[in-house]
């Protein structure tokens, strides 16, 4: 497996990985803002967000129709759609592509659910490796608290209830996240994760993230041409920061 740089793509892909509640979405959002404000070409993509596949995924999740195998395949379908239609074309066009979760999320989760590691890795073998992968490593208890404080209603698959680890969703979630963390740690060296101490303050982490990105990627080459000035788009906030605007 090769990175996009090794495959001579003009663009670069940066991925963030970590448990739910590790703060990775906040960090990649802040990175994106920083890059955009410098006038660089940036594209952001989130795990499990392909419009085409979404209907099937949400039906499967709501009706608890998914098994480890179909759970894995439907997420791979979602990823393939984003990869082929957005990520690769953007990378060909010299964009900095930011991914909130990448193939390692599947490697960790699907294996915890019981799929064979070789099978899962084989399926995702069409994808190149990120040029930089940040892994946000927080204490399990801290990640759990962040999620459990804000969102007491855990969804079935999110809590790993399909694994039958416990009949209590909170206990199940703890055990599930613990096992995912083990998988991430086991992959860390193999895939050159840049391991971030996610127990630190948001700002401290962001300083390191920005430094590493600037150091490793040479940002000038991703500058938008003068005559293609970036339109001032309304800022899209990550999901968890969106507030419901009450309608009349």
């Amino acid at each position: 497996m090769k990175t996009f740089a090794e495959l001579n793509f003009p663009g670069r892909l940066i991925a963030v990985e970590g448990l739910d509640g590790s703060g990775k979405s906040t960090q990649i959002y802040l990175l994106k803002r920083w890059l955009e404000l410098q006038g660089l070409k940036v594209y952001f993509s989130e795990w499990n967000s392909s419009e085409l596949v979404k209907a099937a995924t949400s039906k499967g999740k709501k009706r608890e129709l998914l098994t480890p195998t179909t759970f894995s395949l439907i997420h791979a379908t979602d990823f393939a759609d984003r990869y082929e239609r957005y990520l690769v074309p953007m990378l060909r066009a010299g964009y900095l592509v930011l991914c909130d979760r990448y193939i390692f999320t599947a490697f960790a989760r699907d294996v915890v659910r019981g799929c064979t590691p070789e099978w899962v890795r084989g399926i995702y073998s069409f994808a190149a490796l990120p040029d930089l992968t940040f892994f946000f490593k927080a204490d399990l208890e801290i990640s759990l608290q962040r999620i459990l404080d804000g969102r007491p209603q855990l969804k079935y698959f999110e809590a790993g209830m399909d694994l039958r680890l416990s009949t209590d969703p909170y206990e199940s979630f703890r055990m599930f996240q613990g096992r995912i963390l083990e998988q991430y740690l086991a992959m860390s060296t193999e895939f050159n994760f840049l391991v971030m101490d996610a127990n630190q303050l948001v700002e401290r982490q962001q300083v390191i993230v920005r430094e590493l990105v600037a150091q490793r990627l040479g940002l000038e080459q991703f500058r938008r041409a003068e005559h293609h000035a970036s339109p001032m788009l309304p800022v899209e906030l990550p999901k968890r920061f969106k507030h419901e605007v009450p309608t009349e």
């Binding site: 596949v53 099937a56 179909t70 990869y83």
Partner: protein, 243 residues
Amino acid sequence: MKANARNRIVIPRRSKRLYYGHGIPGVDVAQLSGKLIVVEGADGSGRSTQIAMLVEWLEGGGHATVQVGLKRSTLVSEELEKAQEGNILSRTTLSLFYATDFADQLENIILPALKAGFIVLADRYIYTLMARDMVRGMDEVWLKNLYGLAPEPDAVFYLKVPPEELVQRTFAKNSALDYWESGMDIGLSRDMFDSFMTYQTAMEKTFQHLQQIYGFTIVDGMRSAAAISSDLQKKISAVLTGK
């Protein structure tokens, strides 16, 4: 008379079944007592006719049957249909979408039916899915890993009908060639007839290649339905008696 009828029912011998690859986590296929019979072939090769005849014959012989096919899963069949209408899926996505559909039916219909001792008749199986993808340039090793989740069937019949005849049969029934069955998404030719012929010829070649790997039975689909059925029945009888 009654005793006679009971005597004629063949009690199937258990198959030594394996998965092609990694299989489905937690399901041991060696423990499943049913039989899996696959009928492969292009549209117009007579698959549905043959399956209908096999159902008659098997049920008459005291066997319970279940039918499965492609794009029939509860999970994704509607979404897959919708996505295909716009023809915007790229090939890896389309391939994985079909694999999801297959896996859903495998786990929710095929495996439970085999466990309950049914004879499962599959109107196409992983070979069509693999052949379609291979014709579209997908990597064979990648596909083999993906479909390593499938159990080996007890018998696979490929109804071989040359493209010239498929065209005639399609027009006799529908008066139009199907977009996907003509491989129009690949851009082989702007002319639909030419595209159909090129695509179906490529599919046939790919099936021949897959036959060498998976060893399924090639059946001459140019004969009468009854002659073909009697062929299939003979081979299935051998499967049931374990000979």
